[in-house]
């Protein structure tokens, strides 16, 4: 199953970035497919991107809300919120584990042999602050003289934008190199921080900063597809704690907002078939090894 997940991650990465004419056009894809929402964090200024980034678009729409309203346009970001809301209701943070290119990159970096560390649980609350402050409040509240706000998260933090768009465009368009300054170097430092951190800790950006992950985490209890714990089979052996890349203690918190449904706990850890995948309450598959429910110790 892990191999299947890896293939899905690769295919989703290619589907979101399938325009490969940029070495000749030297700019980004500008076709109609960009009306489609990328499920994961994927900068729409990436030269190969064929979808829009929900976070980038939401910030742009909120930043331009006053200006739009003054011109009789009602761009509240509903289509973007609706798109990621439907995805969240269907899959929740399963998208982080299966369809986010930046999450996939962090997983690959974490395979580099080194001493591994955890991420303090308290830091996982940070991403909700980034969602509320940098994606919603600041673009709405801080506007210039013409009533336009900035995409604060993209502008000051997003390492995916620096990696997927900033660096390739500096290579493709040499004239941009003269315009880089403190802002770019600040973002480049953030990129290096998270890429380096990903070698030593599993998915640090997803766990501490990603506002899209925070949004999908809001659906942890109500999403259609999720893992289920059969408490009658769980022996509290804690095997699921040790394999989770997000630091989830699954048997203690089956609806944990951090769970990316990578299925490691179900397939690699649980020997008692206590974990199954369900869709809307109906089990999709239950490993059947002829075990009867076991009593708790």
């Amino acid at each position: 199953m892990e191999a299947v997940r890896k293939w899905v991650q690769v295919i989703m990465g290619f589907l979101m970035n399938s325009s490969w004419s940029f070495p000749f056009t030297r700019t980004i894809y500008q076709g109609p497919l960009k009306v489609l929402c990328a499920p994961g964090l994927n900068c729409y200024s990436c030269p190969a991107a064929t979808t829009y980034c929900p976070l980038g678009s939401l910030q742009q729409l909120l930043g331009g809300l006053r200006f739009a309203l003054e011109n009789g346009q009602y761009y509240f970001g509903f289509s973007v919120l609706g798109s990621i809301g439907v995805l969240g209701g269907l899959f929740g943070r399963m998208i982080c584990g299966w369809a986010c290119p930046f999450g996939f990159l962090q997983e690959l970096l974490h395979k580099i042999p080194s001493r591994k560390f955890g991420v303090p649980r308290i830091l996982s609350q940070g991403k909700f602050v980034f969602l509320l402050v940098f994606v919603i409040i600041l673009p709405l509240a801080l506007v210039d003289a013409s009533g336009l706000g900035s995409p604060w998260f993209c502008k000051f933090i997003c390492p995916a934008g620096t990696l997927e768009a900033g660096l390739p465009l500096l290579w493709l368009q040499p004239n941009l190199r003269n315009t880089i300054g403190l802002l770019f170097f600040n973002k480049f430092a953030i990129l290096l921080l998270f890429l380096g951190w990903a070698v030593f800790a599993s998915r640090p950006f997803c766990r501490t900063v990603c506002p899209l992950g925070a949004f999908y985490a809001l659906f942890s209890r109500v999403r259609l597809l999720k893992l289920r714990l059969d408490e009658s089979r769980c022996t509290n052996c804690k095997a699921c704690h040790h394999v989770c890349p997000m630091g989830v203690k699954f048997n203690e918190s089956p609806d944990d907002p951090e769970c990316i449904t990578c299925l490691a706990c179900m397939n690699k850890a649980c020997k008692f078939d206590a974990i199954s995948l369900e869709i809307g309450g109906i089990p999709l598959a239950v490993p059947d090894r002829g075990l009867s429910p076991v009593s708790k110790p």
Partner: protein, 56 residues
């Protein structure tokens, strides 16, 4: 289908909450589409966002 899976399916009630949430966001998306938002999103997405890449 294995017996365990069949038994579990029999005793598993369908969760309604996901369908309510998905329908609500689908309606939100339709409202956004009705106001012409996708055109604005496309307009933005086909331009290089200098802020996004750390230049603007």
């Amino acid at each position: 289908m294995s017996r365990t899976t069949r038994d579990l399916r029999k005793k598993s009630p369908i969760r309604k909450a996901p369908f309510v949430v998905i329908t609500a966001f689908l309606l939100l998306w339709l409202i956004g589409v009705a106001t012409g938002e996708p055109g604005r999103v496309l307009e933005q997405a086909v331009q290089v966002c200098l802020s996004c890449i750390g230049i603007g």
